[in-house]
């Protein structure tokens, strides 16, 4: 009797896991703020056009958004009882690993001001000089914060708090620094074979912190 019950339970668990992991479209309006999403949309419009399917850009976006809404709703409904069990235990089956490679990632740059010496660069991603600051910034959980909250079209809720915290750490590590300036430079990554290779870097989310504000 027990082997049959166990097989049923395992089947049930597998059903929920597979439904939750099912790679359904999950596009949301906010995703379209990213340059990479704009580029991908344009490319899809031209690919479909090459196959004789003429779809205006806006129509394509609306169709994908609608499909995403519907499939998302269905998926949520199916796994609702399972999610009640998963959530408190921090379990999940969403594995979107590098689904879209961002050709326009942000490069974290930190500058420091020492007295009257003016601003000088303290860190420029992905530079690794083995310092404590670099160890801190490269630790995966810290990177998770600045990469998620900072490297995006609009900074996340955590971004300002993180900058303030980082300022405190830098002022501890470098007693001679009296101000820091932090920003993300948008990098254009183009393959070596690309015809139009951009080298310009746009700056975003610049923040400044002063030692005197920490006293």
């Amino acid at each position: 009797m027990w082997p049959s019950i166990r097989a049923v339970l395992i089947t049930l668990v597998l059903f929920f896991c597979v439904v939750e992991a099912a790679p359904l479209p999950t596009l949301k309006k906010r995703h379209l703020n990213r340059q990479i999403a704009q580029d991908e949309t344009d490319r899809w419009v031209s690919i479909l056009g090459a196959f004789g399917v003429e779809v205006p850009r806006e129509v394509l976006i609306q169709k994908v958004l609608k499909a995403s809404r519907k499939s998302g709703k269905l998926q949520k409904r199916l796994i609702r009882p399972w999610r009640k069990f998963e959530r408190p235990l921090g379990l999940s089956q969403r594995w979107g690993l590098f689904t879209f490679t961002d050709s326009y990632p942000g490069r974290l740059v930190i500058e420091a001001r020492r007295g009257d010496d003016g601003w000088s660069e303290l860190y420029r991603a992905p530079h690794d000089d083995g310092s404590v600051l670099v160890d801190l910034l490269h630790y995966r959980r810290v990177r998770g914060i600045w990469d998620d909250a900072g490297d995006r079209p609009y900074p996340g809720k955590l971004y300002n708090r993180w900058v303030t915290w980082l300022g405190g750490r830098i002022f501890e590590l470098y007693p001679q620094v009296d101000a820091i300036r932090l920003r993300f430079d948008r990098v254009d990554i183009q393959p070596p074979t690309a015809r139009n290779r951009h080298t310009t870097e746009e700056t975003k989310h610049e923040r400044t912190r002063f030692r005197e504000d920490y006293r």
């Binding site: 999940s92 594995w95 961002d102 974290l108 801190l136 995966r140 914060i145």
Partner: protein, 319 residues
């Protein structure tokens, strides 16, 4: 239906599960030690009023431990200690099932306090620890075995093999859905197979210099194609595993998959990808966390055969 019930009722010695248990514990403990070493305990797990990044005061519902303990920095330390010591107990096999469940709750508590610090690998390892908590991994190479059987090697008699099968299925689900979701055009010829080149140049993860990557662009293209094909071939790998388990049955495809050793080759390529990730990207414990699950791809008898270089022993690969 009968075959399905029989599949989940197979038995095998629990050594592989014990190895996976110890490897997972080792990986997460090293990671927790980093949090302590970098003085990030209060930054991550205390409330903003106590110098932390999380705004816990206004949050409802509060993370698990903060429902019972005061909103003080000491609770941040209790949170990390609970996760670290439950991982230690789980790895050494001390009250294994209980410590596994405590670890899952403690790790989920850390995730609830500051969600951006919790990555996919943390979720994967929580899934696996919960699964192992229901397994018999503690029957060998554990303090539990030492107490019960008076020897560290414990009781090697066969135990249910379904937890190992579920670890394999979890990896199948992860790899296949990750592959199917790689719909960005850079993963295709339209985007010049440039996905890995772009990922490897992302300043957040980059290890190699831009000129190096430019010089090896063709290699990154090949790696992009290989990654994509390897992830998409997961169903074939699942079928190959089934064919290995039923190698006495007829069928040309079954015979080809078995004689070409498709399954072990697929696993070795996967391990190489993760080692490649570890060498070329700054992703923390991700590659090591996934590799900790790789022993589950083969039953204990096969590992023993390889380690003792004894090709004489032939056993059904699923156990």
């Amino acid at each position: 239906m009968k075959a399905w019930v029989e599949l989940w009722d197979r038995h095998e010695p629990p050594h592989v599960l014990a190895v996976v248990r110890m490897l997972i514990a080792a990986v997460v403990m090293v990671d927790f030690a980093h949090i302590y070493g970098l003085d990030l305990v209060e930054t991550f797990y205390a409330s903003s009023a106590d110098g932390g990044l999380a705004n816990l005061g206004s949050r409802n519902p509060k993370p698990l431990l903060y429902r019972w303990l005061p909103l003080e920095s000491s609770t941040a330390w209790w949170s990390l200690c609970a996760a670290f010591f439950s991982a230690l107990a789980f790895g050494t096999g001390t009250l294994t099932r209980l410590s596994g469940l405590v670890f899952v709750l403690a790790s989920a508590n850390l995730a609830q306090i500051l969600p951006p610090t919790d990555r996919a690998i943390d979720t994967l390892l929580r899934n696996m620890v919960l699964l192992l908590s229901f397994s018999s991994s503690h029957r060998v190479w554990s303090v539990d075995a030492l107490v019960r059987y008076r020897r560290w090697s414990g009781d090697p008699r066969p135990t249910p093999a379904w937890p190992r099968f579920l670890i394999i299925i979890q990896l199948f689900i992860m790899y296949f859905t990750a592959g199917v979701q790689k719909v960005g055009l850079t993963w295709t010829p339209v985007g010049d197979w440039s996905a890995l080149y772009i990922v490897l140049r992302d300043p957040a993860f980059a290890v190699l210099s831009d000129p190096t990557l430019d010089a090896f662009y063709r290699v990154t293209q090949l790696a992009t194609i290989s990654t994509w094909l390897w992830e998409w071939s997961t169903p074939v790998a699942a079928y190959a595993l089934w064919c290995r388990a039923t190698h006495t049955r007829p069928g040309r495809i079954r015979a080809w998959l078995n004689t070409s050793a498709f399954w072990p080759k697929w696993v070795i390529v996967g391990a190489c990808f993760h080692l490649g990730i570890a060498a070329t990207m700054r992703l923390g414990m991700f590659p090591y966390g996934v590799l900790a699950l790789y022993p589950a791809f083969f039953p204990g008898v096969e590992w023993r055969r390889w380690l003792r270089r004894n090709p004489e022993t032939k056993t059904p690969p699923l156990g």
